[in-house]
């Protein structure tokens, strides 16, 4: 039995996982039951080159956020994430919606739930990155659909290559092919398939993905998110990714999340991490203007005001010699630009919002007096 599992693992690693990471065509396999997880968590591909390629691909993808991070694969969380993603993607196959095959869907959904339940909070930077890479690559992928027309018939192939006999003798039979690509995210979020909750659950178990996907749905700082943000390298990488893609909607989402975090009587060390994250986000946004990126100038109301007010509060903290503000160490010219932005933000956010931000900073600084927040939350 274990040999069968190893063969399945080899096919899956080489045919699906590796192309998924390298950006090639990933071949989905049979559904993977949760019973295979114990084997997949510790198995390595029989072909040593495949294992090496896998690690290289993981490292390369993870390097877009944090460079030179040693990654380990497989481990329980990453394997469960990958298996769940594989099964989710395979469930989008329209050919499953037919007699006899249709009945397998509920059981596979149970398998997916079991696999998601097996995913624990990431304990290292590498684990967090590995999960994010898997989810980002799967959600960013696409399915290639082909419509083949000849003089008499039209055939549609969703996510499969047309058979050779269908496209044979193209001139004689007037065979025409039209290709289109459908994003995997759209397929997974189709209501008819009932997969959105599973996707959301997977994203919630990958803190980096959760932070980067902050605009979809209501965002809240979870313990795993704050743990990830307490790592300076990860925090900077995440901030960079957000600024590089788009900061539209960030102010509202993070402002709201910060307000909720402060309301719940959160320990100061958690608050300090969140404030540091928001502060760095705004600092990098200002510095990124030089590359031609244009940040949003007018914050909205409510949460965005709080988000905006964090910058002038942090600058004040820095001027007062506070521990939070001390992290902002910039060149004089950049500092001048940052101060200009802070005064603009203070005007836009209003005195109340700035005062609320000051209070948050004050609360968070209590921790900084005791210990430096940059050391992380147990990482």
């Amino acid at each position: 039995m274990s040999e069968e599992k190893q063969r399945t693992f080899d096919r899956w690693a080489e045919g699906f996982l590796l192309p998924l990471l390298t950006g090639e065509t990933a071949q989905l396999q049979r559904f993977l039951p949760p019973g295979y997880l114990s084997h997949f968590s510790f198995a390595t591909p029989t072909e040593s080159t495949v294992h090496q390629d896998l690690l290289e691909a993981f490292t390369r993808r993870a390097g877009e956020i944090v460079r030179n991070t040693p990654l380990t694969f497989p481990e329980v969380g990453a394997a469960a994430t990958a298996m769940a993603l594989h099964n989710l993607a395979a469930l989008t196959d329209p050919l499953l919606d037919r007699a006899f095959a249709r009945g397998s869907r509920p059981r596979v959904l149970e398998w997916i739930d079991s696999l998601i339940a097996a995913i624990d909070v990431p304990r290292t930077r590498g684990e967090a990155l590995t999960r994010h890479v898997l989810i980002a690559q799967t959600l960013g992928g696409a399915r290639k659909d082909t419509v083949v027309k000849n003089w008499a018939y039209t055939y549609r192939f969703f996510g499969r290559r047309p058979p050779a006999n269908v496209v044979a003798l193209p001139r004689l039979r007037f065979v025409r092919q039209e290709h289109s690509e459908r994003p995997m995210r759209d397929l997974l979020e189709e209501h008819a398939l009932d997969l959105e909750d599973r996707i959301a659950a997977l994203v919630a178990r990958s803190p980096i993905t959760h932070l980067l996907e902050h605009t979809s749905g209501t965002f809240r700082f979870g313990a795993a998110d704050l743990a990830v943000l307490s790592d300076e390298a990860l925090r900077y990488g995440i901030v960079q990714q957000i600024v590089r893609s788009s900061t539209a909607g960030s102010a509202a989402a993070f402002g709201d999340a910060l307000r909720e975090l402060a309301r719940d009587g959160t320990p100061p060390e958690f608050l300090a991490v969140a404030i540091a994250f928001i502060g760095e986000l705004q600092v990098l946004e200002v510095l990124d203007e030089r590359r031609g990126n244009k940040p949003l100038d007018v914050p909205g109301v409510g949460n965005e005001e709080l988000f905006a007010a964090m910058l002038p509060a942090l600058i004040e903290d820095a001027d007062a010699g506070g521990a939070l503000g001390a992290r902002i160490a910039l060149h004089a010219r950049d500092m001048m630009a940052l101060r200009a932005r802070a005064s603009l933000r203070a005007t836009q956010a209003g005195e109340d919002a700035v005062e609320a931000a000051r209070q948050l900073c004050k609360r968070a600084s209590d921790l900084s007096a005791k210990a430096d927040g940059s050391e992380g939350l147990g990482w």
Binding site: L20, E24, L28, F31, P34, G35, S114, Q137, R143, G159
Partner: protein
Amino acid sequence: MLERAALHQTRFRTPGVTPDARGVLLGQKGAVLFPSLDRLIAFLRAYSSEGSLDDLLPSLTIGKMVTSLKTREVLLSFAAESSYRMDRIAGIAKIAGGMVFTGTSRHFVKYRDSASPLGYDVLELQESVDDVVLYHDAFVQGYQQEGTVDLRQLVLKLTPQRARPDEMRSPSPRYWLTAETGVGHAILNYIFRWRVSARAALVEWAPESAFDDQGKRLHLFEIADPPERILELFDALPGVHVYEPGPGYAVEYGFRHPIELESASALFDDASLVLFRGVGNVLTVNPLPPFAPVRSLVRTDLGQGRSGDVGTGTEAPAIALDLRLAPTREPWRRVTATFVPLEHQAWLARLLYGLPPRTLASVSMASASDGFYLLDEGGIEGVPLGTFHTEVGERIYVPAGMTLVPAVSPRVLDDLLRERGNGFAFFDDEGPRVIAADAFGPVSRRVLRQLAPSSVSASALGDDGPGLPLLRYDKPRRLPLWGFGDEDDAT
């Protein structure tokens, strides 16, 4: 006497005139009335220098007109064709003192001017038996035609004028040369000796009167690419005349015909040749005689001469002198070249790093086996290295402070170094050295090594890493979960 033509006016009293596309009143002919012949010539000179007389020639007639009071005037008539042509003619005619009219047969009305942009119409036609009636706003005059003037004859009668230095044309690829029969053979030998490509013919004219013993005879040469010194020599030689050629005509070297003959080429044909002499004589060679290459003509003569010399056994005494370099106290002039020996190569290389861009761009350099020759037309002072050379003739250099003895002229030097072609001759103690012109090039090109850039793969920011994957389903199964047991459901 005249009224202004109005826009969209269709009926006119002047016979044969209609408005053209622009509304300008126009007959089939145009006419320009000149008070005298010299005004006509002034007009032709001005018109030929601005446009082409060839356009006018097919329809152009020059009439000698006389009024009933026996006043004589000149009327130039031509096909009007368009108001654009008439405008151009009218503009030039006004400067030359002519009055411009338009009409079709006998009645010519004043052409348009600034007072009436669409032209004029007569108020009343004059009954007259005259050949031509001109209607001007100041007069109405009838003319009888006394005769015509042939334009070609008029052109031939005009005396060429000496050209100003700034009017001298650029060197022509070929020239005509006439020589009196007395010097013709000497010219023949001279041309052959200097290896100038030429053809020769003998031209004869019938005696002009019964008192002439025989007709006029001249040697006619067609010379291709003669050196300027030979041209000047021929030009200064009595009995020899050099002509600059045109299609069917030629004007003596250093002179210009009053009328731009290039714009009146229809007056001449290829089968004859009209030679305009500077003193006013015009020689017409019609038809052109057969030409023979100078080489073939000379060989026959020289062969006869040599056989005589051999018979007498005489040998001409000869003096062979070497050109030598000698010191001179004259100030240095045109120091435009330097020779840097090979042992100073490192100094030159170091100096080139310090040269300003302008000097570096103007200096050209050639590499020889024992050193480097550097040239700068603006002066070689920018490269204070090596032995400076002064330019004593065109592309002939001697070391600065030296001169060549015997003190021959640059022209003679040029002849002596004829073999060098377009190369540069540098004199030193061992004699002249010739560096081909192709060997010289911009110093920046000669000294810099070829750059071998190393290719670096670079891509735009944000475009890092491979793309996103495509996902493909497995082969469809009728029972997708066949083979999995209950033990697989638990992690």
